[in-house]
């Protein structure tokens, strides 16, 4: 371990904003992934200047820096593989400006997604990327990850909403990227490159984001399918039907059981449930879209078709999906829900086959896997339910993950749709992007010649995700 001059950092951020206590290092060394490591120090900058000073010091001493927001990442992006400084950005939490006429807002990176949307709602607008973790996810973390969520099918991912960024580079210098305009063709769009770079290219200290009007009408529908394949075909048919759903979600039988058990919602225990939503300013248009989707579901064997415009009723229909991720951990007392192979995307026509393949691979490897997700954007989520204290389960999980990604590549899908790469998905990412890896490594070098920004991630990550770091579990 390199020597780190804590008093220098204390001078920058103040004594109350720094910790080297083993308990803090342990906490800040993990997130919502299976990984765990420890930083050498946790530092909480309060403004841009402090971030610049910290980066200048770290660059000079070649100390790794890992930027952290809510710590809700699922692939280990904020796990400090090589120790160093964990930069907790939650103090930089100001919504700086809401400019309704010019349709943008400016925020600091520690602003929580839901808080931003609460502040935007009096203006009749919303910030659409909103992942499921929006209640704690910070805008900075969402930018690092190119986060998206249930409405990405219509409104896009974080990258589509980022107009500009202020970024502190590895050497501590500050750059302003992008513009405050809807379109820009002025040279390289470096701000777009920053989105999804997982803290490996710079530290975002301010973001200029666009927003969209809150639709006047929103209608949510639901259909049950006795066969998973039929639900998959319905997804592809909906996307080819000419309508643009504002949400299109698949929930499989494993997920349904988990939600019923946890939430006591009494969902029908079928092979798959589809949730489809349309929104807009004109009711007739929303009616048309919902009816079209309903018709497609019916034609593909969907039953129990229901839909509602009523907010309370919609919340009730969607509650199961909303609570799915934590509910999976209650599926069985002996099993824990782990975020592995958790967010691949495949072409619409391959959704059904992918879901089926996931279940086959899980059965073959003696683990339980779910298939659910934002199918409207091609994203298929899974969780591996396993006994995390048993070594053999990790070997099974590793095999299953490798098999799933091999399949995903074979159908021209992609490793991650929204959770990013971090540590857990690095080997699959490298296999998928084989011919552009060298280019990406050179780009990283141009931004960060000393490799201090979140080292050990993406191209730089260990091939074997199980042994890349300590696991957060105690494995016998």
């Amino acid at each position: 371990m390199k020597k780190i001059d804590v008093p220098i950092l204390k001078n920058i951020v103040g004594e109350e904003n720094i910790s080297t206590d083993p308990a803090d290092l342990f906490i800040y060394g993990s997130d919502s992934s299976v990984h765990s490591a420890r930083p050498w120090v946790v530092v909480r900058p309060g403004d841009t200047q402090q971030v610049q000073q910290i980066m200048a010091y770290a660059n000079q001493e070649k100390i790794p820096v890992v930027t952290r927001g809510g710590g809700s990442g699922m692939c280990g992006q904020t796990v400090p593989v090589q120790g160093g400084i964990t930069l907790d950005m939650k103090r930089m939490n100001k919504i700086l400006e809401i400019n309704a006429p010019d349709v943008f807002c400016r925020v600091q990176p520690g602003v929580v997604d839901d808080d931003l949307n609460k502040a935007l709602s009096p203006f009749g607008v919303f910030y659409p990327p909103t992942p499921a973790s929006s209640r704690i996810a910070t805008i900075g973390g969402e930018i690092g990850n190119n986060a998206s969520g249930v409405r990405s099918v219509k409104y896009g991912a974080t990258r589509d909403s980022v107009l500009g960024l202020k970024v502190v580079l590895a050497d501590g210098s500050l750059v302003t990227l992008g513009a405050r305009t809807r379109v820009e063709a002025t040279g390289y769009q470096v701000h777009k490159l920053m989105v999804g770079s997982e803290g490996t290219l710079g530290v975002v200290v301010e973001a200029t984001l666009s927003f969209v009007p809150i639709p006047k009408f929103r209608c949510l529908g639901m259909a049950n399918f006795d066969r998973l394949e039929d639900a998959g075909t319905a997804i592809a048919d909906i996307m080819a039907s000419g309508v643009v759903p504002s949400m299109l979600e698949l929930v499989d039988s494993v997920a349904i059981k988990a939600v019923n058990k946890t939430m006591d919602l009494g969902l029908p225990e079928v092979e798959a449930v589809l949730l489809y939503e349309a929104d807009g300013m004109v009711k007739e248009a929303v009616d048309y879209e919902i009816n079209t989707m309903q018709e497609v579901c019916k034609n593909n064997g969907g039953t129990g078709l229901t839909s509602s415009y009523d907010a309370k009723e919609r919340a009730k229909i969607f509650l199961g999906r909303k609570k799915l991720f934590p509910a999976l951990s209650k599926f069985s007392d002996a099993l824990s829900s782990t975020s592995l192979a958790d967010d691949m995307a495949v072409p619409y026509s391959k959704m059904a086959e992918t879901a089926k393949m996931i279940h086959e691979i899980a059965a073959r490897n003696n683990i339980i896997m779910t298939a659910y997700g934002h199918c409207g954007s091609g994203c298929m989520h899974t969780k591996i339910l396993m006994a995390p204290n048993r070594q053999d389960q990790w070997e099974s999980a590793k095999r299953a993950v490798a098999e799933i990604y091999e399949y995903v590549r074979s159908v021209k899908g992609t490793t991650s749709a929204e959770h990013g790469i971090g540590i857990s998905k690095a080997s699959a990412f490298k296999a998928e992007k084989n011919d552009s890896l060298k280019l990406m490594i050179n780009m990283k070098k141009a931004f960060d010649p000393n490799n201090i920004l979140n080292p050990g991630k993406l191209m730089d990550a260990h091939e074997d995700w199980v042994t890349a770091t300590d696991l957060r579990y105690t494995v016998a």
């Binding site: 910790s19 206590d21 083993p22 308990a23 803090d24 342990f26 906490i27 800040y28 993990s30 997130d31 919502s32 909480r44 809510g70 710590g71 809700s72 907790d88 939650k90 103090r91 939490n93 100001k94 919504i95 700086l96 400006e97 520690g110 602003v111 929580v112 839901d114 808080d115 931003l116 609460k118 502040a119 973790s133 209640r135 704690i136 946890t262 939430m263 609570k323 991720f325 934590p326 509910a327 999976l328 951990s329 209650k330 007392d333 002996a334 824990s336 829900s337 975020s339 995390p388 204290n389 957060r472 579990y473 105690t474």
Partner: protein
């Protein structure tokens, strides 16, 4: 008392539960302790990770950890937010049990009694959690039973009871907030909201508005610990009015709403005696999570206050 070694005797049963915790962090947006410091070690998830560290031998016990874990107001919002079904406050209580009597035991956010205590035993009688005892001529707080509601702080006539770690809920912190807010041109009213019945929409972010709001909501741990001097402080800083929100009858675990009602009624009488409109101080009872009801009560109160105008007009 003999110091015993730290053992995870009570915590051991939670091992598999903590494996089930997916560390999603959905608990920490609700935690008043986390919101005050924004250190993850003050969040419910942070506490669970520390406890996991103790159970797995990856962390050694320390006063630092005991202090963090013993800082909990038992509002239970974390339990309600966790759909993995982890009852975090039960785990926290068991951690406090394991720390009790060891060299690491600390009061955290629980109450302590200083030498000004006149042994009137008012705090012992009023404690809803039976956490205070008179032993060998001294008041002793049971750190496991104490839920940091702070009723004892309010009831002590000698001001001998305090919480060392109050996370912004003690009188001096609230007074500071009151003064800072009312210094602004637009500041008119202070709204005291109880953490059990209401918590603010904005969890961890801050709005930088061009026009500052007319009122500020200050969250306290229980209506029962709102002392009369604290309720009067805004008036001393030229506030137009004060609104107190507490739980409906029968809903308060600490009977704090009964005390709050008594305080507000007395202060309304006091305002009348001073030839001031008694409606400048009001109390509303808000059911758990009824944000719409709370907002409408605030709007009504502010509307009336704007009719009454500033204090110096009367």
């Amino acid at each position: 008392m003999e110091i015993r070694p730290f053992e995870t005797k009570h915590l051991d049963k939670w091992k598999s539960t903590l494996d089930s915790c997916i560390r999603c962090g959905y608990c920490y947006e609700h935690c008043p302790v986390f919101k005050d410091t924004r250190w993850e070690s003050n969040s419910p998830r942070g506490k669970m990770i520390m406890i996991y560290g103790l159970l797995s031998g990856k962390l050694d016990p320390s006063t630092y950890i005991a202090d963090k874990i013993s800082s909990c107001f038992y509002c239970g919002r974390c339990n309600a937010a966790c759909s993995s079904g982890v009852t975090l406050t039960d785990i926290i209580t068991d951690a406090k049990r394991d720390f009790q009597g060891t060299e690491f035991e600390t009061p955290g956010s629980t109450s302590v009694t200083n030498t000004d205590c006149a042994a009137c035993l008012a705090c012992v009688r009023i404690c809803p959690h039976e956490a205070r005892e008179f032993i060998n001529g001294k008041i002793v707080t049971d750190t496991v039973k104490c839920q940091s509601c702070g009723i004892c702080v309010d009831v002590c006539p000698n001001k001998a009871v305090a919480t060392n770690l109050s996370y912004g809920t003690d009188r001096s912190s609230l007074n500071r907030e009151i003064r800072t807010f009312l210094e602004k041109d637009n500041g008119k009213a202070i709204i005291f909201g109880c953490n059990w019945s209401y918590y603010p929409d904005f969890q961890s972010s801050v709005m930088d508005p061009e026009t500052p709001p007319e009122y500020k909501i200050l969250i306290n741990m229980c209506g029962g610990r709102l002392e009369k001097p604290l309720l009067l402080e805004p008036f001393l800083q030229n506030a137009w009015g004060v609104l107190v929100a507490c739980c409906p009858d029968g809903d308060c675990e600490h009977d704090g709403n009964v005390k709050a009602k008594t305080h507000v009624a007395a202060l309304r009488e006091f305002l009348k005696e001073m030839d001031m409109d008694e409606n400048r101080i009001q109390l509303v009872q808000i059911a758990h999570g009824d944000k719409a009801g709370f907002q409408s009560a605030i709007d009504k109160f502010m509307e009336n206050l704007n009719t009454l105008g500033p204090l110096n007009r009367q």
